[in-house]
Every structure is written in C-alpha cells, then in structure tokens.
Amino acid sequence: MARYVLVESRDPFESRDVSYFYGLAADLAAKGEQVTLFLVQNGALVSRKGAQGNPLDHLVKGKVEVLVDSFSLRERGIQDSERHPSAKPSDIGNLVDQIMEEGAKVLWH
C-alpha cells in the first residue's frame, strides 16, 4: 500500500480540472492506497457545507482523509459551523509531517 498526499490549492468552481484531482484521490483510495487530500488556499472553499455537488462526502466514504488548512479557513471566513464535517481542520505543520513520512508521494495542484 503506497502513501499519497494530494494538495489541492484551487477553488473547484475556478477550474474543471480540480474535479479530476478529487477523482484521482478517490481512484487511488479505491485501489487500496492510503490517501490524504489536503485543502489549502482557495482549495479550502470546497469545505463550505452549502456548496452544490460537494464531493467531500463521496471522498470520505471512499476512505480518503480530507484535511483543510485552518489558516486558509480563517482567511476566507469559513467558521466551524459552516465547515463540512468531512473536512477536518489541520495546519501546515501537519502537512509537513505528512510530506516527510517515509515513502509518501506528494502531488500539488
């Protein structure tokens, strides 16, 4: 089982290829790989509960760990009550820990 850290920095409504990145995370997890999707910058916008067609539930059900950078949430005024429950708050230090894990393969979008 390989370890993947996928960092999504873009707003899903900004570009269609963001959905392909979510798809990559889901497909890797479906193949039994260990996958973390780390949302940062405008990538954090998908963690708003009310966003239409939100893919986060599907990703979490598919065993993708979804983390969202707390700094990015604060910058964008996304309160805890507005945040989708499938996106767990995290911080950049945790991202560094994940990147440094032995064998981790890191992709940034």
Partner: protein, 135 residues
C-alpha cells in the same frame, strides 16, 4: 540526524497565495528541525531581489510604516535567520537562466546561483521533495 526536505517553487512574488504557502511550509519545516533546500526557478527567482521596496497605501491613508507590508525579500531573509536560530540548514538556489532572463541577479544575502543539476542532486539526497507548480 536531521531530515532534509527539498522544495521547488516557481511562483513570482505578489501574484498568488502560493508564494505565501510556500514560505509557511519552509517556516514550519525549519521549526521542526528539518533542513530545507529551496530551488527557485521561473518567476520565483524574483522573491529574493534586493531592490524591492515597501510602499504606503494611499487608499487606506497609511504610511509605509503604518502599512507594515513586508516585501518577499524580507520574508526570505527571516527564513534564513530562523534556520540559523534553529541550527538547521536552509539552502536557496535561484536558477541562473531564469535569473538572467529576468534581470533578477541582485539578491539578498543567502541565496546562490545554480541550475537544474543542483535540483536533481538535492532530490536524490533528500528525504522528501515537494514541487509547487504555478498555473
């Protein structure tokens, strides 16, 4: 023995939040006692230009001092200070060809000139590599 992280960046200053996130990652890694290599190419070579100057904000009516808006060269300088304070290494290479085509050769103390073979060597010697692309 301290681990080493190599990061490649290409975003120019003031264009997007990616430069800020890269600085945050470098800062976090140094604070964790991780040695960091930064390979700056394309627009990222302009992050360290010595001649950057802060500015006031006439819309807000603030002076330079009141605005307190650091230039990216100051952020990079502070990362070098942090590395020294934590007793870890921060190596910063500006890609020479990218520097030349942008005329961005007058940089602060700390970075040095290099090229893709340096990045390749770092990748082979590091515990982890992170490539942060631009759009």
């Amino acid at each position: 023995m301290a681990k080493t992280l190599t990061i490649s960046i290409m975003e120019p200053p003031y264009e997007s939040a990616t430069s800020t996130t890269a600085m945050r990652i470098i800062d976090a890694a140094l604070r964790k006692g991780i040695n960091v290599n930064v390979f700056a190419y394309e627009g990222a070579v302009s992050l360290t230009v010595k001649d950057q100057k802060p500015h006031p904000n006439p819309v807000h009516g603030t002076s330079v001092e009141e605005e307190k808006h650091p230039n990216t060269k100051d952020l990079v300088a502070s990362l070098f200070e942090l590395a020294k304070e934590k007793g870890v290494k921060l190596e910063w290479i500006n890609c020479g060809l990218c520097v030349d085509e942008r005329g961005a050769g007058n940089w602060i103390d700390g970075p040095r000139r290099g090229g893709p073979p340096d990045f390749h060597k770092w990748v082979q010697e590091s515990d982890a590599t992170l490539v942060i692309p631009t759009k």
